[in-house]
C-alpha cells in the first residue's frame, strides 16, 4: 500500500467517526449522551489535525477540549439538571426548521468549497515536527497577541469565578 492509500483510509475512517458522533451530538434527546458524542467528535478532529501534520495542535486539542472543556460541560450539565433526563430539543417543528436551515447552509457552503478553484499547493515536504517553529512564532512574530490572549484568559477565568460566587447578602 502506498502512503496515499493509507492516508485515505485513515481519513475516511476519521470522517465516518466524526459524522456518526456528530449526529449523536446534535440529535440525541439526552444532553449527557450528546456530551459523550462530543468526546468522539473532538477526538476525530484531533485525528484530522494529526493527519494534517499539526502534531502540537492535535495534542492541544485532546488536552484542552477533551480534558478541559468537555469536563467543564459535564459539570455544567450535572450542576444544572434537576430531572434525571434533561430534554434538550425543542418541538418537532423547530427541530425540522433547524435541520432545514442546517441543510441549506451545508449545501451552500459545499457548493462554494467544491466550485472554487483553490490555489492549493500539495504540501511538498513531509510533515515535520512543528513545536519548535510554533514556539518561535508565538514568542517572536506573534508575541503581542500571545501575551494579550493570556491576559484575556486570566480575565475570563477571574470573571467566571466572580460570576458564580455565592452571594451572601
Amino acid at each position: 500500500m502506498t502512503p496515499e492509500t493509507i492516508q485515505a483510509i485513515i481519513f475516511y475512517f476519521l470522517a465516518a467517526v466524526l459524522v456518526v458522533s456528530c449526529f449523536f451530538v446534535v440529535f440525541s434527546r439526552d444532553i449527557v449522551h450528546s456530551c459523550f458524542g462530543l468526546f468522539f467528535t473532538l477526538m476525530a478532529v484531533a485525528g484530522f489535525y494529526a493527519l494534517l501534520g499539526a502534531d502540537f495542535l492535535a495534542v492541544t486539542q485532546v488536552v484542552v477540549y477533551v480534558g478541559g472543556i468537555l469536563v467543564l460541560l459535564l459539570f455544567g450539565i450535572l450542576l444544572t439538571s434537576r430531572t434525571p433526563l434533561v430534554l434538550g430539543l425543542t418541538s418537532r417543528r423547530t427541530y425540522l426548521l433547524a435541520t432545514g436551515a442546517g441543510l441549506i447552509i451545508f449545501l451552500l457552503l459545499l457548493a462554494v468549497v467544491t466550485q472554487t478553484h483553490w490555489m492549493a499547493v500539495q504540501a511538498a515536504t513531509e510533515p515535520e515536527p512543528t513545536i519548535a517553529r510554533l514556539g518561535d512564532l508565538l514568542l517572536g512574530e506573534y508575541l503581542f497577541p500571545f501575551e494579550f490572549s493570556s491576559l484575556t484568559l486570566l480575565a475570563a477565568l477571574i470573571g467566571a469565578a466572580y460570576l458564580v460566587r455565592r452571594s451572601d447578602r
Binding site: 492516508q7 485515505a8 481519513f11 475516511y12 466524526l18 456528530c22 449526529f23 446534535v26 444532553i31 450528546s34 456530551c35 462530543l38 467528535t41 478532529v45 484530522f48 489535525y49 494534517l52 501534520g53 499539526a54 495542535l57 492541544t60 486539542q61 477540549y65 472543556i69 467543564l72 460541560l73 459539570f75 455544567g76 450542576l79 444544572t80 434537576r82 434533561v86 434538550g88 430539543l89 425543542t90 423547530t94 426548521l97 433547524a98 435541520t99 436551515a101 442546517g102 441543510l103 447552509i105 451545508f106 468549497v113 492549493a120 504540501a123 515536504t125 510533515p127 508565538l138 506573534y142 490572549s149 493570556s150 484575556t152 484568559l153 475570563a156 470573571g159 467566571a160 460570576l163 458564580v164
Partner: protein, 104 residues
C-alpha cells in the same frame, strides 16, 4: 480512492459547521447551545490548519491562529458556564426559552 486534498478537509469542516448551527438553533438547553458553538469553532480550526498545510513553503501562521482560537474557546466555555449556572440559580432552569429577560 482519490488522493486526499484540501477540498476533502474543507468538506468535513463544512459538515461540522452546519451541524453546529443546527445544534445552536434546535437545542433548548443552554449547554446544548454551547456544544453547538464548540462544533463551529472546531470547524473553523480544521479550515485554518488545512489551509496552513496546503499553502506550500511550510507556513505555520494558520496553526498559530488555531492556537488562539483554542485559547478563546476555553475562555468562552468558562464564562458561558458561569452564566449558565447563574441562570440556573435565578430561574431554576437552563432552558433558554424561559430566560428571555436578564433578571427575574
Amino acid at each position: 480512492m482519490s488522493q486526499i486534498g484540501l477540498t476533502h478537509y474543507l468538506v468535513i469542516a463544512v459538515f461540522l459547521f452546519a451541524m453546529g448551527v443546527v445544534a445552536c438553533i434546535a437545542r433548548r438547553n443552554a449547554v446544548g447551545i454551547l456544544i453547538g458553538i464548540e462544533l463551529i469553532l472546531n470547524a473553523a480550526n480544521i479550515n485554518l490548519i488545512a489551509f496552513s498545510r496546503y499553502s506550500g513553503n511550510g507556513n505555520l501562521d494558520g496553526q498559530v491562529f488555531a492556537v488562539f482560537v483554542i485559547i478563546l474557546a476555553a475562555c468562552e466555555a468558562a464564562v458561558a458556564l458561569a452564566i449558565i449556572i447563574n441562570l440556573f440559580h435565578g430561574f431554576g432552569t437552563v432552558e433558554v426559552d424561559y430566560a428571555s429577560k436578564m433578571k427575574e
